[in-house]
């Protein structure tokens, strides 16, 4: 996140910053929900068990890796579509 004062940031920069933060928050909530759904299946008590905590921690890390990879491939495709052409095609594996 930029530490510039608002006066020196253009309106576009501010809006982009906002969008980025919003995306981070949403991603956080999504991974939380996904990992909760996949890891927590028993409600015999209020507190979270250690195995559930482990599962969630691993799930979150995996989720991050997944979104990063998808993001990378997505950007590669975007580059191809918007006329990166032959240059971008070489990047894919």
């Amino acid at each position: 996140m930029s530490a510039q004062s608002p006066a020196s940031m253009s309106l576009m920069e501010q809006e982009l910053n906002q969008a980025q933060i919003r995306e981070i928050f949403t991603s956080f909530n999504r991974s939380h929900q996904r990992c909760f759904t996949d890891c927590v299946n028993k409600f015999d008590r209020r507190s979270v068990s250690d195995s559930e905590k482990n599962c969630v921690a691993n799930c979150v890390a995996k989720y991050m890796n997944t979104t990063q990879r998808i993001s990378m491939r997505f950007q590669e495709h975007q580059a191809m579509i918007t006329g990166g052409g032959a240059v971008a095609q070489g990047q894919g594996k």
Partner: protein, 117 residues
């Protein structure tokens, strides 16, 4: 808050003048947190509904089992909110450490190599 946005204690102390760009930025940062909490709320709702309430609708009232499940579900969900946040912070810390080390390594190697291309 997780990302240090619009912290409560900051507000009371040096509050920016009304309508200033600083105040507008603060407000929009705080609105992002509000949005996030609303989103969190919706997801808890959806998750615990799915997990605890069986889709057979012979009755309108919750059974005791469903009610207890919901209570525990919400408690667990909120407890995990912190676990997820800590893990994400840890991961992003590791990544920025790696990036910082990589950047430092690049700088060092660049300085050592004579320029001449």
């Amino acid at each position: 808050s997780w990302f240090g946005l619009g912290g409560g204690s900051q507000q009371q102390a040096g509050r920016p003048p009304s309508g200033s760009p600083d105040e507008r930025l603060l407000v929009s940062q705080q609105m992002l947190e509000v949005e996030m909490m609303q989103d969190l709320y919706n997801r808890v709702m959806e998750s615990c509904n799915t997990k605890c309430v069986q889709p057979s609708y012979n009755d309108t009232e919750l059974t005791k089992a469903e009610a207890v499940c919901i209570d525990r579900c919400v408690a667990k969900y909120m407890e995990l909110h912190e676990v997820v946040g800590n893990k994400l912070q840890q991961i992003s810390q590791q990544q920025s450490d790696t990036a910082a080390k990589a950047a430092a390594a690049v700088q060092q190697s660049g300085a050592a190599r004579p320029t001449g291309s």
